[in-house]
Amino acid sequence: MRQIYWIISFLIILSFIGKANSQLLEPPNSEDPLNLSQYSGKTVYIDFWASWCIPCRKSFPWLNKIRTTYSNEELVIIGVNLDKERAKAEAFLKEYPAKFDIFYDPKGILAEKYQLQGMPSSILINPHGQIVSAHSGFFQSKVSLYENEIQASINNYREVIREK
């Protein structure tokens, strides 16, 4: 009985701390540092990464593959780097070269704006500029989901244009 009391009080106190913290995020920033409006008509895939993030190493080859599967007109890939020191990001890129554009966000302004929940994170924006999906983490088992979402965004746009 004494033990049970122990466990309960322990968990209650701890979960309270968890809650208190989740309100730390500042309200989203409405600026557009990536100038996304220039990509109207294209699907934009934003990948947030950092040199210290191990799953990011797995996502890069896949991003490169996706880059060569679609044309620049269909799909724009932007890798947003969140390293505080640019040199670390550059060292990473030497080892894991990127075939897509890299945007450096050392202060995490974009990370804050999109309220990332994990690393890496991705955001898919359709040709009309709407966020159609967001993923936290990179999972090999979900690659087909990521690819289907990109393909769907591209296909939907083709059809919309055709119907007009």
Partner: protein
């Protein structure tokens, strides 16, 4: 790359995929034409860099030098292989992207002559799409074999380019024609636009003539031996090779042009028809496709 303005259309011309490539646009906006040109050239070069047999260390190079080892492939390659496999099955093994090794011994130029049967027999074991083991993530084929995406690649890229520029042209009602060395796709987005006049090349006793066709919507692809052939002992040996015998398909039409909804379909049908030899026209009639056939 060259952009020229004509009376009521723009013409973009460049060279890629070993062919003169052109895109004609009914447009009065030079800016739109420039955007289209960039898209088309980027995409064509991307594809060429990835699949050309003549480039060092690209995907095709890796595949052809894999010597029996597994090579990692991507989705686009897998889809092209699936498509090639479809053609292989439908043609009962006559359409085969591994047949390219025969070009080592068959040289289709004037005054050439057929290679010996023994040299053909030596190569036959290295032909046959069924020997390829591939899946979504890998490709593996026996040492000594080669694949050539050239037989499907040009039509595919014509379709891709048309697909990519449609979202730009369609809202502006800019009808266009994408023509890469005779494989073409036309799209009409304004009923007032006239059809494009396209000349289909034909050779009659060393004299060049063109038959003009009108096209405003759809695709045309031509396959034939109008240039690549030789005569030997009264026989015409044309460059359509039968991968089962290792010899040219005899009695095939000099050229077959097929009209279809997309260029890959047109190209596939004309290639399959050529492989039927003298039955080409029967094949096309039975398939109920629109075609032009020169013997």
């Amino acid at each position: 790359m060259q952009i020229t303005q004509h009376r009521n259309y723009f013409k973009i011309a460049f060279n890629a995929m070993a062919s003169p490539c052109e895109i004609l646009l009914f447009s009065d906006s030079h800016n739109l034409v420039k955007v289209v040109a960039k898209i088309a050239i980027d995409e064509t070069k991307r594809f060429e860099n990835k699949f050309s047999r003549y480039l060092y260390n690209n995907l095709c190079w890796q595949i052809n030098r894999s010597e029996g080892k597994k090579v990692k492939i991507d989705l686009e390659t897998f889809n092209l292989l699936e498509y090639a496999n479809n053609l292989y099955q439908m043609s009962e093994k006559l359409f085969d992207i591994t047949a390219g090794v025969l070009n080592k011994i068959w040289h289709f130029k004037k005054d050439a002559h057929p290679p010996s049967q023994s040299s053909i027999d030596e190569l036959l074991p290295f032909i046959g799409f069924h020997q390829i083991d591939y899946a979504k993530k890998y490709f593996c084929m026996p040492k000594g074999m080669q694949v050539d995406f050239g037989g499907i690649g040009k039509e595919y890229i014509v379709d891709r380019v048309a697909q990519l520029i449609t979202p730009i042209c369609e809202p502006e009602e800019v009808s266009f024609l994408v023509n890469f060395g005779g494989d073409l796709v036309a799209k009409n987005f304004n009923s007032l636009h006239p059809a494009w006049h396209v000349g289909v090349e034909n050779i009659e006793s060393h004299r060049c003539s063109e038959k003009l066709i009108n096209i405003s919507q759809g695709a045309v692809a031509t396959s034939g031996s109008t240039k690549r052939f030789f005569d030997y002992q009264g026989q015409r040996y044309a460059h359509i090779l039968n991968p089962i015998t290792g010899k040219p398909v005899m009695g095939a039409p000099r050229s077959v042009s097929v009209f279809a909804g997309n260029c890959s379909l047109a190209g596939g049908m004309s290639s399959l028809a050529q492989l039927q030899g003298k039955n080409a026209e029967i094949f096309l009639k039975n398939a109920e496709v629109e075609y032009l056939c020169y013997w």
